[in-house]
């Protein structure tokens, strides 16, 4: 986990100064001691609020940006398998900003940049940026997919959105090299970025090694967001654990002003249990996804099961992105924007 020649000093137990190597994740970009939060599954919170950290082992946890960050009060919990959980309570006087989460262990420091964002308050009205299908590594256009994605991220940075959702097909083939490249470009984003996997990203377990969970939830002020995986949902229907996660997530955000699902792909015959949970028992207020490489039209306004409207955004690899206005009036998609040239 150590980067050669990169030495930092961190306080340990308030008494010792140790020399340790620091790096964002492992050298190959995969997650190390800290599983979540990370730059694809960050946390956004206010001073005094708490957040959960999932790690492979106990560690001394710190926030940092250019210097030491706000203090964390940590309680530890065991998790099934080889994971532990830290419930971290943020200092009530914490300065708003973007922070890296650091885990100090005997062998060094694991550092997840862009993992924690502290805000002063949550607005009633905000923008969400939706980016999907960057397909890093593909050769669909004259211009390199990485260069196109850099322009899309630059446009996202200028959008004044509160955060960005990047809904899968991050890469063309899901290789570690392509995921590393995606990570390098995404880390140029000045907004919190929430990712989920697409069908192109699921080679072996590479996606999980770079970003951890395939399904998760987060709250932004009064609104709840659920990320979920729809790769191979037909043969996977009801076998695994995701259905239960979705039921728990949906219950946890039941009181939200708006409940918004985001995934890579939606088909009407995707896992039936997932659809019962998300569209029949407690219908989401909005579903956002990509995969189609085009926007949805007037005949594709909602899931067939009920009232949940859908919004499909054209692919980033085609130079496109979309903004959503989120307010007391609802979740309103703006038209897709072309923000990157293809040649």
């Amino acid at each position: 986990m150590a980067a050669e020649g990169e030495i930092m000093k961190r306080p340990l137990a308030g008494l010792l100064l140790i020399s340790a190597a620091a790096l964002a994740r492992q050298q190959d970009g995969t997650l190390d001691v800290i599983v979540t939060p990370n730059s694809g599954v960050p946390v956004i919170l206010l001073p005094g609020q708490s957040f959960d950290v999932v790690l492979t082992r106990r560690a001394d946890l710190h926030l940092a940006n250019d210097g030491p960050g706000p203090a964390l009060a940590v309680e530890w919990y065991d998790m099934p398998g080889d994971r532990v959980q830290a419930r971290c309570v943020m200092d009530p006087d914490a300065e708003p900003g973007e922070y890296a989460l650091e885990a100090v262990v005997d062998s060094g420091v694991d550092r997840n940049p862009r993992a924690v964002y502290i805000r002063r308050a949550y607005p009633d009205y905000y923008l969400v940026a939706h980016v999907t299908d960057p397909h890093i590594g593909s050769a669909r256009h004259v211009r390199d997919a990485s260069d196109i994605f850099r322009d899309v991220i630059a446009a996202t940075n200028e959008s004044k959105a509160a955060f960005a959702l990047i809904t899968g097909d991050l890469t063309q083939d899901g290789t570690p090299e392509q995921l590393q490249e995606f990570l390098r470009i995404m880390d140029g984003c000045t907004l919190p970025t929430f990712v989920c996997p697409g069908n192109h990203d699921r080679a072996a377990l590479n996606y999980e090694q770079f970003f951890g969970p395939l399904a998760y939830m987060f709250c932004f002020g009064q609104d709840g967001y659920i990320a979920f995986d729809t790769k191979d949902y037909l043969p996977a229907d009801e076998l695994g654990a995701q259905d239960a996660d979705l039921e728990v997530f949906r219950r946890d955000i039941k009181a939200a002003r708006w409940s918004i699902g985001f995934t890579h792909r939606y088909e009407a015959i995707m896992g039936m249990r997932s659809q019962i949970v998300l569209f029949l028992d407690n219908p989401l207020d909005h579903l956002i996804f990509g995969h189609w490489h085009r926007a949805n039209d007037d005949t594709e306004e909602a899931v067939p099961w009920g009232t949940t409207p859908i919004t499909v955004t054209p692919a980033a690899v085609d130079g496109m992105m979309r903004l959503f206005d989120v307010s007391a009036q609802g979740v309103k998609p703006r038209p897709p924007q072309r923000v990157a040239a293809l040649e």
Binding site: D78, G81, L234, D237, A241, E247, I269
Partner: protein
């Protein structure tokens, strides 16, 4: 620990008189789960393979194709196993003997074929089929004697998850001696030539139009599919459920009761239909899923979130008494499968990290971890016959 004690006792009884020892050995064997379980295992879906585990020894044998294998279902006599597997860009139904021999794949008309269910006499398989990954799902019945596939439900599409009705007593009992509408013809419900075991399926059917689509319980024969709500039965027998979504229909082993889940009541609950009417038997503010009958038909195992995460419970339908079987605040437990003698329940749990198969007795005691590997192990299904 209890297993170790039983093993020590087994050694001890060998020193007793032969007849006494034999009786004690039999009794002690009954205290341990045995027999065989089918399940699917893989590091991911692409290499997921149907397997059979000997419960007593833990020996695992791969009998599947190893390509998205799923939903293993034993024939009623336990001699064969059917499961779905990914081939030729779709899903096909694969059948293999219990010892792994005589593997064959059914010749399908449709590309996507899922959720095989054996007829009570073991001569047919019913499954859901479609040409595309859309809602135009049909029920297909494959007859082994002829090798032919026949569409059931007449022209009805939008039918999912068929299950065979093992007895037609309830169907007669719902409205004894009276005629009901059945397709174009007026068919007497107590006409044995029509409603007999092996000729009736229950299934989930789509109802309504896109934008307001929901699900309902259907009776399906080769020629017709009819929603139970369309039987014209009194409200107290089958309430109008058009605004609710039903799922996971499960007839009891004798067919005298039908269990299913519905979001009637504000969240998902397990209901039963008997000749006395329809009742919510798991009433709780947390979701209750997937009812599975015990072999004697006395209990229903089901999944519930009443403990926070998904756990396994059982309910006695006559009194709606609910007892926990396997539940934990920090892990999920799901997919219960009863042993043939009803004493044991196999299930999946991620309490040790990745999903593994466990066995417990029906009261939730004597927990055993059956599989312990780096794969994800799913969908245990207890072989109907054999020691258990």
């Amino acid at each position: 620990m209890i297993v170790a004690q039983v093993r020590r006792l087994k050694v001890h009884v060998r020193s007793l008189m032969p007849a006494t020892a034999s009786i004690l050995t039999i009794l002690l064997l009954c205290a341990e789960p045995s027999g065989r379980l089918a399940f699917v295992a893989g590091s991911e879906l692409e290499d997921q393979c149907a397997c059979i585990i000997d419960v007593a020894s833990g020996e695992i044998r791969r009998v599947g194709v190893g390509s998205f294998d799923g939903t293993p279902a034993w024939s009623p006599d336990g001699a064969a196993l059917a499961f779905e597997t990914k081939q030729d860009g779709g899903m096909r139904i694969h059948v293999v003997r219990e010892d792994g021999s005589q593997a064959r794949t059914i010749d399908h008309k449709y590309k996507w074929n899922r959720n095989p269910q054996w007829s009570p006499d073991g001569t047919k398989l019913a499954y859901t089929a479609s040409d595309a990954m859309d809602l135009a799902q049909r029920i297909i019945v494959h007859e082994f004697a002829t090798g032919l596939e026949t569409p059931w439900g007449g022209e009805r599409v939008g039918l999912l998850r068929p299950v065979w009705v093992p007895g037609v007593k309830l169907l007669y009992g719902l409205r004894p001696g009276q005629r009901i509408g059945w397709g174009d013809a007026k068919i007497t419900l107590d006409g044995l030539d029509w409603l007999e075991v092996g000729r009736v399926l229950l299934a989930i059917g789509l109802q309504g139009e896109p934008g307001a689509l929901t699900t309902d319980l259907f009776m399906v024969t080769q020629d017709t599919a009819l929603a139970l709500t369309e039987l014209g039965l009194p409200e107290w027998v089958i309430p109008s459920r058009s605004k609710y979504a039903e799922w996971a229909v499960a007839p009891s082993p004798t067919g005298s009761t039908i269990a299913f889940e519905s979001n009637d009541g504000g969240d998902r609950e397990i209901f039963v239909i008997t000749n006395k009417g329809t009742a919510d038997i798991t009433n709780h503010r947390a979701a209750d899923w997937n009812p599975r009958w015990s072999p004697d038909g006395d209990w229903l195992a089901f999944e519930s979130f009443r403990g926070g995460r998904r756990g396994i419970y059982r309910v006695y339908p006559n009194t709606a008494r609910v007892l926990p079987i396997a539940a934990a605040p920090d892990s999920d437990n799901w997919w219960p499968s009863w042993s043939p003698n009803g004493k044991w329940i196999a299930f999946v749990s991620n309490r040790t990290g990745n999903p593994e198969v466990f066995v417990t007795d029906a009261s939730g005691e004597n927990l055993r971890q059956l599989t312990n590997n780096t794969w994800n192990d799913y969908a245990p299904s207890w072989r109907p016959k054999g020691k258990s």
